[in-house]
């Protein structure tokens, strides 16, 4: 509401100033009083310091205060009129966190008379004030989220052009400028926060997938999530996520064809770009077991033969070569290598003095007195009633953990540290162990135990990388496998940012690699949870800091205070 126009304010000032001058003159008119003597009065008046000048200064200060007060009455409305008359520039923040919010940009700027400036790595004019809708639409296609380091420069540029800047962003820009939350207040945003895929140690081979889904809406949501690879659809699951919370759901799937994985929310929401996340599928291969023996052991062969996804190799001791970690489990059946291998190994009745825990004695027709069923190898394995003909007593060296013992000493030891090793101090062929269900159980457990920590390839999860790290020494070709396009980076580029989420191949020279990109988690927008808040946007449109009229009133008050000190009363 406009309190006074400029003309009215000038009139008010003239009236007030005239009144002040008249009052001043009236006050200068003295009352005539007859006194007995002027002698004491002269003594007081002698100390007077230029009273006329002080009175004139007080009058000037009063008039100035009135002028400032009148100015204050018109300063606010004038500023608002200026705001309306000056060309407006929207400055859009194109930082990575603005990715989904940029979808609300056309609705905000299309059809307006304002110009648009993108504050990306550099300030760029998207379209000028007064542009046609077609030109605005063409310009909006160039606005993409990425790096934003030039917000302050864009504001300075807009002001230098005499324009009124309004920053469209997702957080307080901490600049002395009007700003507006873009996309604020749109209800029901759902998002896939993360997708992780890893190869499990179990048999048959499996892939563990963990999907984290967020519900930023104001009500609980049933969120259908589609899991698919690059080649095929894997399945669909519906997750119930409470309002304002996130939920992690794990899936175990069989090895499938394809190179990458995606989790996608199948319902529409205001910001679909965060409804999908990508990850790479882990490399899955069968479990590799190599048996080194000079005498065939059909029990071992048969036990591994029935296990799915196991690739079994048998070699004689003379042809044994250290596999250098290419197998999951080495089994030395009644033989032992000269040098201990780096791969996990099972030693069955090793020769005297050989192996990680060499036998140091023999016990005939012994009885097991101790079993450590708390170890993962023996957990749930029924070994309590195993009968053996002869036992080798083992030497427990540093790092050894007792699995089984007879009255004479330890007969089964394990080392859980790398290189992993298990030593059984008896020949399984001279026991009833292969005839029990415990034998394949023990071998399966041993295989799982040896594969722990191996072949586990975790796909890049959301938030680990918002861009593509490149070797600055060569140019690179970045190609999207999910249809987003193709980018070429010149030599010297260390990082390519601003790419939309997806799966990419990066080729630099002869090297080619695959990676999945998602929205960076640490910069993900925290979208509002429901109702629109127009008052927030309206408040954000107002200039920051105190308006001019407040300063004018304060200045007028200061002048009046000074006048009070100066004037003689």
């Amino acid at each position: 509401m406009s309190l006074l126009s400029t003309g009215q304010a000038l009139g008010l000032f003239a009236v007030c100033a005239l009144a002040l001058v008249i009052l001043f003159l009236l006050r200068r008119k003295s009352k005539r009083i007859v006194v007995a003597s002027l002698v004491p009065w002269r003594l007081v008046v002698k100390r007077r310091v230029n009273p006329l000048w002080r009175a004139l200064i007080a009058l000037v200060l009063q008039i100035l205060a009135v002028a400032l007060g009148c100015w204050a009455l018109v300063a606010g409305p004038e500023a608002q009129e200026a705001l309306a008359e000056a060309p407006t520039f929207f400055i859009v923040d194109t930082s990575a966190s603005m990715g989904p919010r940029l979808q609300a940009l056309p609705e905000r700027v299309l059809g307006s008379q304002a110009g648009l400036v993108a504050a990306g790595e550099e300030v760029s004019l998207v379209f000028a004030p007064g542009s046609s809708v077609a030109r605005q639409q063409a310009g909006l296609l160039r606005v993409q989220a990425g790096q934003s380091q030039s917000l302050a420069e864009a504001v300075t540029l807009a002001r230098a052009l005499g324009a009124q800047p309004i920053v469209l962003t997702d957080q307080d820009p901490e600049l002395d400028v009007a700003w507006e939350l873009l996309g604020q207040g749109v209800a029901g945003d759902l998002a896939v926060l993360s997708l992780q895929a890893s190869a499990g140690p179990g048999l048959p081979p499996e892939i563990q997938v963990v999907v984290q889904v967020a519900n930023n809406g104001s009500e609980d949501a049933e969120i259908p999530v589609l899991l698919r690879s690059s080649e095929q659809e894997i399945g669909q699951s519906t997750l119930t996520v409470p309002a304002g919370q996130s939920l992690s759901q794990g899936f175990v799937i069989e090895p499938i064809l394809g190179t990458w994985l995606s989790a996608e929310i199948l319902v529409e929401d205001p910001f679909p770009s965060n409804n999908v996340a990508f990850g790479l599928l882990p490399q899955v291969r069968p479990a590799r077991v190599r048996i080194v023996s000079d005498a065939p052991n059909r029990y071992l062969r048969d036990a591994f033969g029935v296990m799915p996804g196991v690739e079994l190799q048998e070699v004689s001791a003379s042809r044994y070569v250290d596999p250098q970690g290419s197998v999951d489990l080495l089994i030395f059946d009644r033989v032992a290598p000269r040098r201990l291998p780096q791969s996990p190994a099972l030693y069955i009745d090793p020769p005297q003095g050989a192996g990680p825990f060499p036998p140091v004695g023999v016990a005939q027709e012994p009885a097991f007195t101790t079993w450590d069923f708390s170890h993962p190898l023996l957990d749930g394995v029924a070994l309590r009633h195993v009968e053996v003909e002869q036992l080798s007593l083992l030497e427990a060296r540093p790092g050894a953990r007792l699995l089984a013992a007879s009255a004479e000493g330890p007969v089964a030891l394990v080392r859980d540290q790398e290189p992993k090793a298990v030593v059984l101090g008896f020949d399984v062929t001279r026991s009833d162990l292969p005839l029990t269900v415990a034998f394949p159980q023990l071998l399966y457990k041993m295989l799982i135990w040896s594969r722990q920590g191996m072949d586990t390839q975790v796909a890049p999860s959301i938030g680990t990388d918002a861009g593509v790290a490149l070797d600055p020494g060569a140019s690179a070709l970045v190609r999207s496998l999910t249809g987003e396009g193709e980018w070429t980076a010149r030599a010297g580029t260390a990082r390519l940012g601003g790419l939309p989420p997806g799966v990419y191949t990066v080729q630099q020279g002869s090297e080619q690699r695959l990676l999945a990109l998602n929205l960076p988690a640490e910069e993900r927008p925290t979208l509002g949870s429901g109702e629109a808040r127009p008052e927030v946007a309206q408040a954000a449109l107002l200039p920051r800091g105190r308006p001019a009229w407040v300063w004018l009133v304060l200045a007028a008050s200061a002048l009046l205070l000074l006048e009070f000190v100066v004037a003689e009363r």
Binding site: S30, V35, A36, P40
Partner: protein, 296 residues
């Protein structure tokens, strides 16, 4: 205006106080420096032919066979001079309609002091002054003469202005008998301190009756600015502000203390009164004049 008869009866019991011994011309009731006929013995001297035989001390002649004349302290009149300020500032009181103007109180005070002196057969001379010293009035030594004081002071028209120092100078230069000099004035002029010192220097007992109007003590001025007009000279002091009025009001008690100190150091009997405050004349004369050593 006549003094009340009850007051006059009380005044007849008082005397004008003096610290010095002065000598009057005629015999009266005040101890003088002269030796001669009197009651109180003072000295003897050798008889010389021509001396009155009634003053011969025959008892001493019986012892010493020498004729000796008995000398006594002679009691004479006390010269009392009343310097009364008749300047226009003395017409300043609590208001134009007030009867308690300073000149009224001055005339009353002069009459009361005169009556006390006349009751003791002292010689009273009224010296009115304003811009100059006016014609003196020497009162006959009888109580009824007091009526002349009032008539004389009321009928005089003195030139404008107020010059107490000039009046004091003129009074000292005129032939007069030393005695008690009482200055009755509002001291609304410069040089009053020098005037008092001049009177003291002339070896008189000096008294001061300082009269002030209530408006001068309380300064009940209302307004922001004032043009002050001197009641005596008509001079105008323009643009006196309210702050200056307040400053003067704050300084008045200090000035009063200074006057009090000035008089005490010089042995001046000082009576300061505000006209209109104790309108009781009896209180002024019997309490203040006696209390401050002007009468006893």
């Amino acid at each position: 205006m006549a003094l009340p008869s009850e007051l006059m009866a009380k005044l007849e019991l008082l005397r004008v106080a003096t610290r010095r011994v002065h000598s009057g011309r005629y015999a009266a009731r005040t101890r003088s420096r002269r030796l001669g006929a009197g009651i109180d013995f003072a000295d003897h001297r050798t008889y010389t032919p021509g001396d009155d035989l009634k003053y011969v001390d025959w008892t001493l002649y019986g012892r010493l066979e020498q004729l000796m004349i008995r000398l006594s302290e002679e009691e004479t009149e006390l010269p009392v001079h009343l310097l009364v300020d008749l300047s226009r500032s003395m017409e300043h009181g609590v208001g134009p309609d007030s009867a308690d103007t300073k000149s009224l109180v001055a005339r009353t005070s002069a009459a009361a002091l005169s009556y006390v002196a006349l009751s003791n057969l002292d010689q009273v001379t009224i010296w009115p002054f304003a811009g100059t010293l006016g014609p003196p009035l020497a009162l006959p030594r009888k109580r009824s003469s007091v009526i002349k004081v009032w008539d004389h002071l009321e009928s005089l028209e003195l030139p404008g202005g107020s010059d107490v120092l000039g009046a004091a100078k003129a009074w000292v230069q005129r032939p007069h008998q030393r005695g008690v000099v009482v200055l009755i004035s509002d001291l609304a002029m410069e040089g009053w301190d020098k005037a008092l010192e001049m009177l003291l220097h002339d070896r008189n007992d000096v008294g001061l009756v300082h009269l002030q109007a209530p408006s001068e003590v309380q300064l009940p001025l209302k307004g922001e600015r004032f043009d002050l007009v001197d009641a005596e000279s008509g001079e105008v002091l323009r643009g006196v502000t309210r702050a200056e009025v307040e400053a003067l009001r704050a300084e008045l008690p200090k000035a009063h203390v200074e006057l009090e100190r000035f008089c005490r150091r010089r042995g001046i009997a000082h009576v300061s009164t505000v006209t209109g405050e104790p309108t009781d004349l009896e209180h002024l004369v019997l309490t203040l004049f006696r209390g401050r050593g002007l009468l006893r």
